[in-house]
């Protein structure tokens, strides 16, 4: 329930605020739709057809309705059916928004999922090992690299990776995204560099988080109890220590993944991947309101969904959450 409220509030905010922020009147919006030098009559016609002449709350209602039941446009030479979920048509290209986003989703999903697996595994593993030997050479090096990972911006590490492994030593040649089902090997090969650079950025954060969490839980009384039982140290660390240290990491992971699924703007730019993020950048550059609306709403949806999943996971991990 709360989630639905949040989603609708976000939608509402996006819908009303975006045009205002872009500083555009409805006239200008209509003008965009038509293209060059429209007559006032054209503008009026378009405004009527797109419903821009209606009060804002009605527009909002129509927009919501479009998302859930679709819209039939009955103007122009042929009647068009905009299918569910209908975010309307691009003002610039007159292409339906949703299918366009949909076609780019696999790219972003592949990018985010692959990188997420990489950074969680490497980050958590590094963090645990560091926490087991705080102050050791491994710990210092790992935390130094982590600091670099957190501080270096994506466009730098990405460009560096490209320069080294695509141009200097062409291990990963430049190629367009290949769908997973077409050729899994090529799919992976195109994505390795973006995965690794993205994971480098995030795993640094996760390593530090895990390390701090582990150091804290390993000093808990229940760890001493686990040792007093005569458990092997490995079991103590994983079953008793890591399990408790993972809860804050799950929270951060939900946020990060949600954000990333809404489009990895910089990564997709650097590696010329045509994903949702690239789409968002194009839409903003073109000042294309329906596209911006659609992609923003999608991003909000992913964040909300990921948080929902986090809440469910939390209950599964920590029984104290289940009751309250």
């Amino acid at each position: 329930m709360v989630l639905l409220l949040i989603v609708s509030a976000v939608t509402f905010g996006i819908f009303f605020l975006l045009p205002k922020l872009a500083g555009q009147s409805t006239d200008q919006l209509a003008q965009q739709y038509i293209g060059k030098a429209p007559t006032p009559a054209d503008i009026a016609a378009v405004k009527k057809n797109l419903g821009l002449d209606k009060p804002v709350y009605e527009q909002y209602w129509d927009f919501l309705k479009g998302i859930f039941v679709g819209v039939d446009y009955k103007f122009g030479p042929e009647a068009a059916k905009c299918h569910v979920p209908c975010f309307g048509y691009s003002f610039k290209t007159h292409i339906e928004v949703w299918p366009e986003i949909q076609s780019r989703l696999p790219v972003t999903l592949s990018l985010a999922a692959g990188a997420a697996v990489l950074w969680v595994v490497s980050g958590v593993a590094t963090g645990v090992l560091s926490a087991l030997r705080p102050g050791s050479i491994f710990d210092r090096m790992a935390m130094g690299i982590a600091l670099a990972g957190v501080s270096l911006p994506m466009f730098f590490t990405g460009a560096l990776a490209l320069a080294l492994f695509t141009y200097q030593w062409p291990i990963f040649e430049r190629s367009d995204y290949v769908p997973l089902l077409d050729d899994p090997f090529l799919w992976a090969r195109t994505l390795v560099l973006p995965w690794v650079t993205l994971a480098f950025l995030y795993s640094a954060l996760y390593a530090r988080l895990t390390r701090a969490g582990m150091l804290e839980t390993l000093s808990e009384d229940y760890i001493r109890t686990a040792r007093a039982k005569g458990l092997r140290e490995r079991k103590v660390v994983v079953r008793h220590g890591l399990r408790a240290a993972l809860t804050p990491i799950i929270t951060v992971f939900g946020m990060d993944l949600g954000l990333l699924l809404g489009g990895a703007l910089i990564t997709e730019q650097v590696f010329s991947l045509k994903g949702v993020g690239a789409f968002a950048v194009e839409a903003i550059n073109a000042n294309d309101l329906p596209n911006i609306l659609g992609v923003t709403l999608l991003a909000a949806f992913f964040i909300v969904m990921c948080n929902l999943v986090v809440d469910v996971l939390y209950a599964a991990v920590d029984p104290r959450v289940r009751l309250s």
């Binding site: 087991l132 030997r133 705080p134 808990e220 009384d221 229940y222 001493r224 109890t225 686990a226 040792r227 007093a228 039982k229 005569g230 458990l231 092997r232 140290e233 103590v236 008793h240 399990r243 408790a244 991990v317 920590d318 029984p319 104290r320 009751l323």
Partner: protein, 375 residues
């Protein structure tokens, strides 16, 4: 996990021998007592210096007997118990932070120099421990039952079902109602006393021969404290194990302990049969402890007498007798002896030892004339 059988078979014969060999008024701890601690030192190097948490501690304990270790915070009582359990050397990180020497013999097996993994295999099986705060000592994410099952299955090669039956049996034994239902509850669903009972069930699941209770009642309501102490006493009778109770509450040990060991600044300053230490205490620090103990049979307007000053630094332990800066009788022995020479434990008869420079007659006089009337 199946290594238990061969060790186990040796136990009855050896401990029987130990029981008969231990004379009631032994002078020094016999080598064949069930638990034998000899000149134990546990030091922690820190940036500020070497922390001598335990600095030359000797005691012994027979099966079926209870030893009470008393002392204020930082006197080394918890460090001692963790040392016996091998919990200063359980992980690689811990081992890098501690320096241990001396002997800890459990049923003849030396533990200080033993391989940590060997000690681990004894832990939870032949010696077990219960802790002060059962809420933080139990893992919040696992059910009470699964934690007991885990403790059982570390040392017993049985399936989950058998272990679960054993867990329910133990919960029932420590007095938890509806154990077959509560077994799946999590620690936060238990009350404080119930949690400590569950902790005890977990510690006793493998019938350990040595049970160490580190301040087992400190975190509990007063009404529950007595129940828990009774439970420990009953279980000890039933299982015949050796018990060490660590506490700063003399009331607790008065009820349970056969022997008492008073620690100060990482050393034993007095030890002996409980009634001796209680009724004829030899050391000024023990007098102080007794004087600071609230008693219901005393007038409420009377104030408690605290031991003046604060516990000694474990890095720069006062030279001579560690208690000398706080001792009202520090100037009684001649030649500034208290401040230059560390007093050794000397027997006052009946296995009652104390470490004080004052002559026994002098102490006797102070105790009967000055201290005892005020208590």
């Amino acid at each position: 996990m199946t290594d238990s059988s061969e060790d186990r078979t040796a136990v009855p014969s050896q401990s029987a021998a130990a029981g008969s060999a231990a004379a009631p008024t032994e002078a020094a701890p016999e080598r064949d007592a069930f638990l034998q601690v000899r000149d134990l030192k546990v030091h922690f190097p820190t940036d500020d210096g070497l922390v001598k948490s335990v600095d030359g501690l000797t005691f012994s304990l027979e099966k079926g007997k209870t030893l009470g270790i008393v002392g204020e915070s930082g006197s080394g009582k918890s460090v001692t118990s963790l040392a016996v359990m091998g919990l200063h050397r359980a992980s690689r990180q811990q081992r890098s932070k501690v320096r241990m020497s001396g002997e800890i013999r459990l049923d003849g097996k030396e533990l200080v120099s033993a391989d940590p993994d060997e000690v681990r295999r004894l832990r939870g099986r032949r010696m077990a421990m219960i802790f002060q705060d059962p809420l933080s000592a139990l893992h919040p994410f696992y059910s009470v039952g699964s934690q007991i099952v885990e403790a059982y299955r570390v040392h017993n090669d049985v399936d989950k079902k058998t272990a679960r039956k054993r867990a329910i049996e133990m919960l029932d034994r420590v007095g938890i109602p509806q154990p077959d239902k509560r077994v799946d509850d999590h620690p936060h669903q238990f009350s404080g006393g119930m949690r400590q009972r569950a902790m005890i069930a977990m510690a006793l699941v493998n019938n350990p021969e040595l049970l160490i209770a580190d301040e087992p009642t400190t975190a509990l309501d007063v009404t529950v404290q007595a129940q828990i102490l009774d439970l420990i006493r009953d279980l000890q009778k039933e299982f015949g194990s050796a018990v060490i109770i660590i506490t700063h509450d003399l009331g607790v040990v008065a009820e349970l302990a056969d022997d008492l060991l008073v620690m100060y600044g990482g050393r034993c300053i007095e030890r002996g049969p409980a009634e001796k230490v209680f009724y004829e205490p030899q050391h000024p620090y023990t007098w102080g402890l007794l004087g600071s103990m609230p008693r219901i049979d005393r007038d409420q307007t009377e104030r408690l007498i605290p031991v003046k000053g604060s516990p000694p630094s474990l890095i720069n332990v006062p030279s001579g007798c560690a208690f000398n800066p706080r001792c009202p009788y520090a100037d009684v022995p001649k030649d500034n002896l208290t401040r230059t020479v560390r007093p050794e434990l000397r027997e006052a008869g009946g296995g009652h030892y104390s470490a004080c420079h004052m002559a026994p007659e002098e102490r006797q006089r102070i105790w009967t004339e000055e201290i005892a009337p005020k208590l």
